[in-house]
């Protein structure tokens, strides 16, 4: 590297290429690893090229720009969040399969280098938490919550774009790190002093820091947006205790995002100061204290668990009551339990580091606080079971996920109570028991919820149902695959196998690691089933179309509008008279009415802010990672200029004439009248056009 290119490229040079090391030191292992890493890198490049050429070939750039990238519509932003989450999910699942493969073959070695394995578990964890789970739940809240509370958009549509832009920038950074390696090997928690510059001078940890920081900023903004929307934009009559339960969980998640993201921002920002400006906050020397990083990280990390799980609780509540055909049992108890979990989640973070060396009484107090969370969670489980009790249950795909969730989640919760006992934790901490526990919470508790939600609301978003058979196969494969992949890890943990180990020397582990490997393959199959399901559904979209918009005999307001909903959601903002607002309308025969008048509708105008932030965010983070200061300054300057210019913009809305709204709405109402309503037994047949038979009097409980 000479001086003339140094200002341009910073510390980026040929050694960042994934096959460079194998060219320098060709051994069997390094070549195998280089092939895998280069394969992943080429997938990223090929994927990007296919998208670019495809869009050019189909002449869809203008469409993409106008209809999606610059759209402030919460529904489109939600869909983009979910699409991003699914792409990242695919990558992280493949990484998980590689890790399982390594540990299945890992007796005395395996095929991955320790460094490569370290990058795999770090990216897997980072992606799953920050770039799969967070965008997935943000996307679903984005899509559903405004419809449920009867409003036209979030409070701050452009800020919503910026949230998406920031998350996309972080995800892009993680993807770029496959091509210009390495990523961090410090795990998704990134503990110093391993991640300090003294131990880890390369670009990997910096990639991790900036990717996570971008995601954190995004989530903070999303949290503010959701909270303000729920506080200020509820339709008239939508009192607090009439909110659908999903909206309650969205509110609690939003509040947690607002208050739990700052500790992570502090932790990563201080780590960055250590690495870039030679601060000594977490170093081993000169008065640094790395234990504070762990403390700060988990002050974020534990509420984060509930940020992830609460929306899924909300989704399951909707799914249980809809597919049991009953009103939710113990609504008030569920609301109180949700609020209690949200507050308690701030009081337990120390249980992530019981073994750090603090006094036994501190451990005991935090252990007890941890067990307390089991109480509101237990209340929820009973409420859900009692919702099902004597309901007329339809075992649709979301219900399969929900049933899998309720059983597996209780098991995971019990192991959590076990781990909350500090003396037990001392025995199994840092083993695969822990890995098994949190996957047992997050796969049934988060991922099943998100997949159930996707199957549940997909017809709302796209106007046709997802195909059931492949959906069921995917759901069962997820459940079985999960059990096979993670139950053995409990055993391995008790046997003493440490987490994050690239190789082991105890043959007794082998049967368990092999079983887990089989489970991972089944999960991969489940992913394939999801893809096939999507493909088949799109192919048969006319057969499964539900234009009327209420395919499941839904209870809350989002089912009251057409599928897909118009961009303004509601032709006229509805008035709410009780809980389960739409079911109440149907019961009283007030659904699908013509309003007296159609006022003009003011909508936010398109804006390029989200795209600008996504591009400059990626550029700033990339420049910081590789010490390309010109890029950082340039991109930061553009961001600042864009924000200030935006402040001078005055034409930020456009008006839709009421006449146009009237025409669309009357067309749809005519379609409603022309449609044959169906019985619940026909729900999964082609006869389902999204119009249920009106409820029999007295049948709704």
């Amino acid at each position: 590297m000479n001086d003339s290119t140094h200002w341009l490229l910073g510390r980026l040079d040929a050694s960042a290429l994934p096959f460079w090391d194998a060219l320098q030191h060709p051994t069997t292992k390094s070549v195998v690893n280089a092939v895998i890493a280069s394969g992943a890198a080429s997938l990223v490049i090929i994927g990007a090229l296919v998208v670019v050429f495809g869009l050019t070939w189909l002449r869809r750039w203008g469409w993409l720009w106008r209809e999606w990238l610059t759209s402030p519509d919460h529904k489109k932003i939600g869909i983009m969040f979910i699409a991003l989450a699914l792409v990242m999910l695919a990558r992280a699942v493949i990484e998980a399969v590689f890790m399982r493969l390594q540990q299945a073959l890992g007796l005395d070695g395996g095929f991955l280098t320790a460094d490569h394995f370290g990058q795999l578990f770090t990216t897997h964890g980072t992606i799953m938490v920050f770039f799969m789970a967070m965008p997935f739940l943000t996307g679903i809240i984005n899509y559903v919550m405004p419809l449920q509370i009867g409003t036209r958009d979030l409070s701050f549509p452009v800020m919503n774009q910026i949230s998406l832009g920031l998350t996309a920038a972080g995800a892009a950074l993680v993807m770029i790190s496959l091509v210009l390696a390495p990523f961090s090997t410090g795990g998704w928690t990134g503990y110093p002093s391993f991640t300090e510059r003294a131990a880890n001078p390369g670009a990997g940890v910096d990639y991790w820091i900036w990717a996570v920081t971008l995601s954190t900023l995004s989530s903070t903004l999303s949290g503010i947006n959701f909270a303000v929307t729920i506080y200020k934009r509820r339709a008239p009559g939508m009192r607090w205790m009439r909110l659908p339960l999903f909206t309650w969980t969205a509110l609690c998640t939003a509040i947690l995002m607002v208050f739990a993201m700052p500790p992570l921002t502090v932790a990563t920002a201080l780590l960055a100061l250590d690495r870039y400006l030679d601060f000594h906050l977490f170093t081993a020397d000169l008065g640094g204290n790395m234990m504070n990083y762990i403390n700060l990280f988990w002050a974020f990390g534990h509420p984060e668990v509930y940020i992830l799980i609460l929306p899924a609780f909300g989704i399951f509540s909707e799914v249980f009551s809809t597919f049991a055909g009953k009103t939710l049992y113990g609504y008030t108890a569920l609301v109180i339990a949700t609020l209690a979990i949200a507050v308690l989640s701030f009081t337990v973070w120390l249980h992530h580091f019981f073994t750090m060396g603090q006094s036994a009484h501190i451990n005991a107090i935090f252990g007890i606080a941890t067990m307390l969370i089991g109480i509101p969670t237990g209340v929820k489980i009973y409420d859900w079971m009692l919702t099902l009790f004597r309901g007329r249950i339809r075992l649709s795909v979301p219900m399969i996920y929900a049933s899998g969730f309720i059983m597996l989640f209780v098991l995971g919760g019990l192991t959590g109570i076990v781990l909350a006992v500090p003396s037990v934790d001392y025995q199994v901490h840092n083993t695969l028991f822990l890995v098994a526990h949190f996957h047992n919470m997050l796969i049934p508790g988060l991922l099943f919820g998100m997949l159930a939600g996707t199957n549940f609301w997909f017809p709302k978003a796209f106007g046709f149902r997802l195909e059931e058979r492949w959906g069921r196969r995917a759901a069962y494969a997820w459940i079985v695959g999960f059990m096979l992949a993670f139950f053995p890890l409990y055993a391995l943990g008790v046997l003493g196998m440490p987490r994050r180990t690239v190789a082991f020397f105890t043959p007794a582990y082998l049967p368990w690691t092999l079983t887990a490997m089989v489970g991972a393959v089944i999960i991969l199959l489940a992913m394939t089933c999801l893809l096939v399901q999507l493909w088949v559904s799109v192919r048969d979209r006319h057969l499964n179309a539900v234009p009327i918009g209420d395919p499941w005999d839904g209870r809350s307001l989002e089912w009251a509008v057409s599928s897909p909903p118009p961009e303004y959601n509601f032709p006229v903002i509805p008035e709410i008279h009780g809980r389960d607002a739409f079911m109440l309308e149907k019961e009283r025969g007030k659904a699908y009415q013509v309003p007296d008048e159609y006022p003009d509708i003011v909508l936010p105008a398109n804006s390029a802010m989200g795209v600008i932030v996504a591009v400059t965010g990626t550029a700033i983070a990339f420049g910081l990672t590789w010490y390309q200061w010109w890029l950082v300054l340039l991109a930061a300057g553009i961001t600042l200029a864009a924000v200030i210019t935006r402040g001078f913009c005055r034409d930020t809305t456009r008006t839709l004439p009421g006449e146009e709204v009237r025409r669309t709405h009357l067309n749809w109402l005519a379609q409603v009248r022309a449609t044959v309503p169906i019985d619940r037994s026909q729900e999964q047949s082609c006869a389902n056009r999204g119009l249920p038979l009106p409820p029999v009097e007295g049948a709704i409980q």
């Binding site: 503010i224 303000v228 201080l270 000594h280 008065g287 204290n289």
Partner: protein
């Protein structure tokens, strides 16, 4: 009783809709979006408060981490801290006067005048703080010297950075005022900036009490 009823029915006694100054009935345009925006900004302030709170906590836990380097007594200068405190406090007051001018006067001169004074005080604060840091650097108080100094330099300059951003925002708003006049959006901006400004003054109470006075006591 009658006085009370009179007060309640008075035309200007509008219900307060958000923190910070409420413009009331004379400023109808954009009232709804204003309520929402100010509330959103308030939530952001609360998030920021957590950020500062944790940096304060980190600072306190690092007080012992001087690693043989200079500590508060060698580095801090009470007169500088006092001067900065006064600049910020007065600027908070002048921003309050600007808010009143925004609410009760039609001409922009008073508003712009108070805003310019506030801006000068804010810039003066930043400049003096930089000068203070410069003196600390000369006395060997650099962040790479010890954990204590690292904690100091991650807390206090972050506040300074906030003030700088607020100054940039103020300049941008003065620009908007020049281009678009005192329309609903400029008013919304000014009300949110006022909240940020007063909030930063509250954070500074923590800094001068805990960091400077606590360190020198």
């Amino acid at each position: 009783m009658s006085a009370l009823t009179a007060r309640q029915t008075a035309a200007t006694d509008a219900p307060a809709r958000h923190p910070g100054i409420n413009l009331g009935h004379a400023h109808r345009e954009g009232e709804e979006s204003r309520e929402e925006m100010v509330f959103g900004f308030w939530v952001f302030m609360m998030s920021d408060m957590i950020l500062f709170g944790l940096l304060f906590a980190t600072y306190v836990t690092m007080l012992g981490g001087t690693a043989g380097g200079p500590g508060p007594k060698e580095l801090f200068d009470m007169r500088g801290a006092f001067f900065e405190t006064m600049l910020l406090l007065v600027s908070s007051f002048t921003f309050g006067m600007a808010s009143l001018a925004l609410k009760y006067r039609d001409d922009r001169r008073a508003l712009v005048g108070w805003l310019l004074i506030t801006l000068l005080l804010g810039l003066g604060f930043v400049a003096h703080e930089l000068y203070d840091f410069h003196k600390m650097f000369e006395a060997g108080g650099v962040p790479s010297r010890s954990g204590f100094l690292s904690a100091f330099f991650s807390l206090v300059p972050l506040h300074g950075l906030h003030v700088s951003v607020a100054c940039v925002w103020l300049i941008a708003l003065l620009g908007q005022l020049a281009v678009h006049g005192l329309d609903a959006q400029t008013k919304n901006g000014l009300i949110r900036l006022a909240i940020l400004w007063h909030f930063l003054d509250i954070v500074w109470i923590g800094i001068f009490s805990l960091v400077y006075l606590g360190g020198l006591a």
